[in-house]
Symmetry: C2
Subunit: 382 residues, 2 copies
């Protein structure tokens, strides 16, 4: 596993290798920045085709619904949902607001909304907004271990990220959903950091609501449309903020949907279990390859808490993290920098090869080597 | 005015002719279907450029905000707003919900939301939703003449379309806003059928809120992003459903924003007054050219009620409207059919030439001529 040849051999037998069959606009760049965009597919293909063959062609040639329906169908398959339970619309923040309000309405005698603190800051404002408009109390959950304490007969909804964005730990969504249901509350899952990389099965989990963004592992790129799941069993009684009875859809941004659909049509051809398998293998290769660099001066690998399974990301701590990120960039490897001293690597099973991961660690080794002993970032590179 | 040469002459001196300098994907087709898309600009240009030059290029090359800021700046100029008052986000239905809720919150002692019935059906659901979540009563206004009766000390917000989509009549936005303000209520304008074709000046009107879609006269095409205006004076106290304090934006669909920006960057170079002037001239040419066909069998021209000014659309009534729409399509002219017997023509000053309008009436004359006397649509074309 420690040679480039071994990585090449893994690529040769990779059943998902065909997903990478694209000509992206940035060949030679390895995208491990899960935060904003997956390795770029040539996302221009489908928007262009849509404009030329649907939009501009009369009559009623500009009907955007085939694009939308196709995208919803592929995404539903990947999430273990049915197409009628899923809407591609608005932003993930707006969809969080919507789902929290719907949850509060479905549990009228309960007045507490519990939301994991590991969501984006803007989502916390939306959660506050949902609490205000439903006359609920908002409880921000710092740690999953506190769930037991806050979960009681006053809890209407619990909103949690499937993957803790700080530690990369995967939560036991089915088990936690069951616990939430035992307390009589509803479960809302944010799939932004898992869909497209990990096994997701909203039906089996018995999730009530789910939301997520279309970028990151789903490959929809910057500003991809967001999605919104409501379990079929709630459709009759749900009365969500800002929805119509006809499928909870408002309108969707067609060009962005068309771009998103390009990657969804590839992901829709495989199972989320096979994506999860490859994610694990990529992460394992990364960690194995990193072993030789684990000494006193090399980055520390942050471990998920209490043996929770690791998702599709690895976070490294290094006191010169900012400079390492810049150095990696110079070598064509893009990772996220998290203030003050973290490097976050995201592993998208659909768009990355084993050789990509091998090369990324090779680049990290080079950059670590280039960093002179006694390097002081305040005073330049020497 | 009744010859093709005269129309050509008008095009030659048209100060807005430069806006049409585009290579759309459907040359030779005249789009008068204001409902869903303007004549197609080659909207692929900017999404493609965005993908290749911003999205795919590290580092942080996928930052979508320059696209968004550019689009907001150009749109604000066209609406008489400042960029800080405008957000390009979510769908117009969602933005209606948001603005109604914000309005209700800004007028806490008042419990009635008044909404013009001439909005899309889905918007009525969203209005109902906003009323439910704010504990307000929803009053749907059938006719502007009823405004006097419903406007009282219980009214929190009045939401109206700037242009009545049924009759094409333009409403006196400044005057009506003043009347609403005299009653202590807030004014919310839907600009979907006017922005890009008529003079709009939210600042001078003293509008409190405005919403609109990016397609129709703004040229953003099918599924273009929606927009949302909140007057500066309400920013300190506004507490809108589903917003963050940092500029009321959630995320925006970047590819669709990039497509929309392509047309906004052209529209941003002219004034809405000059757009309105050309719209009037196009409509005048259309009506003048139509005179010879105004006999017993020809379409009836629907007039706006009570001498209200006509906007950018003309509606014709004909008992074979459906067949006329199909016939026009065969001649490369796209108009909207409205059940059961109406043809709706929309005149986009930015993308249409005078010759286009001349040709459209020529095609209508041909189609009327082709329709045999005694034509029975139930039994085919003879």
């Amino acid at each position: 596993m420690s040679t480039r040849t071994a990585a090449t051999a893994l690529d040769e037998v990779d059943p998902l290798a065909k997903l990478r069959n694209h000509r992206g606009p940035s060949p030679g760049v390895i995208h491990l920045d899960g935060n904003s965009t997956s390795p770029a597919i040539d996302t221009a293909i489908r928007p262009r085709r849509f404009i030329e063959h649907h939009w501009a062609r009369p009559p009623r040639g500009h009907n955007p619904f085939p694009e939308l329906r196709g995208a919803v169908r592929d995404l539903a398959a990947l999430l273990g949902a049915s197409a009628s339970e899923l809407a591609l619309t608005d932003s993930s923040s707006m969809n969080l607001f919507r789902a929290l309000v719907a949850g509060a309405e479905l549990r009228p005698g309960r007045s507490v909304l519990v939301v994991g603190r590991d969501c984006f800051p803007i989502d916390r404002y939306l959660a506050r907004s949902a609490a205000d408009f439903t006359g609920s109390e908002l409880v921000l959950l710092d740690d999953l271990a506190e769930l037991d304490e806050v979960l009681d007969e006053r809890t209407a909804v619990v909103a949690l990220a499937h993957v803790d964005d700080r530690s990369g730990a995967v939560r036991d969504a089915a088990g936690i959903t069951a616990e939430i249901h035992r307390a009589g509350a509803l479960a809302l899952w944010d799939l932004s950091n898992s869909a497209g990389a990990l096994h997701v099965d909203l039906g089996t989990w018995e999730a009530d609501f789910a939301i997520g963004c279309g970028d990151k592992y789903l490959g929809g790129g910057a500003g991809a449309p967001a999605y919104h799941f409501v379990a079929e069993r709630h459709h009759a009684t749900e009365r969500t903020a800002g929805t119509s009875p006809a499928g909870r859809r408002t309108s969707s941004p067609t060009l962005s949907v068309a771009g998103f659909r390009e990657s969804l049509s590839r992901l829709g051809a495989v199972t989320s279990a096979s994506l999860q398998n490859k994610t694990s293998s990529l992460v394992e290769l990364f960690l194995t390859r990193l072993e030789p660099y684990r000494d006193g001066t090399a980055p520390e690998v942050l471990e998920p808490p209490k043996g929770a399974p690791r998702g599709a990301q690895v976070v490294l701590r290094h006191h010169h993290a900012r400079y390492l990120v810049q150095g990696l960039f110079a070598h064509g490897v893009i990772v996220d920098f998290v203030e003050p001293d973290l490097l976050r690597f995201g592993f998208s099973p659909a768009w990355l090869s084993y050789v990509d991961v091998w090369e990324a660690v090779e680049a990290l080794g080079t950059v670590l080597h280039e960093l002179p002993a006694g390097f002081d970032p305040e005073n330049g590179r020497s």
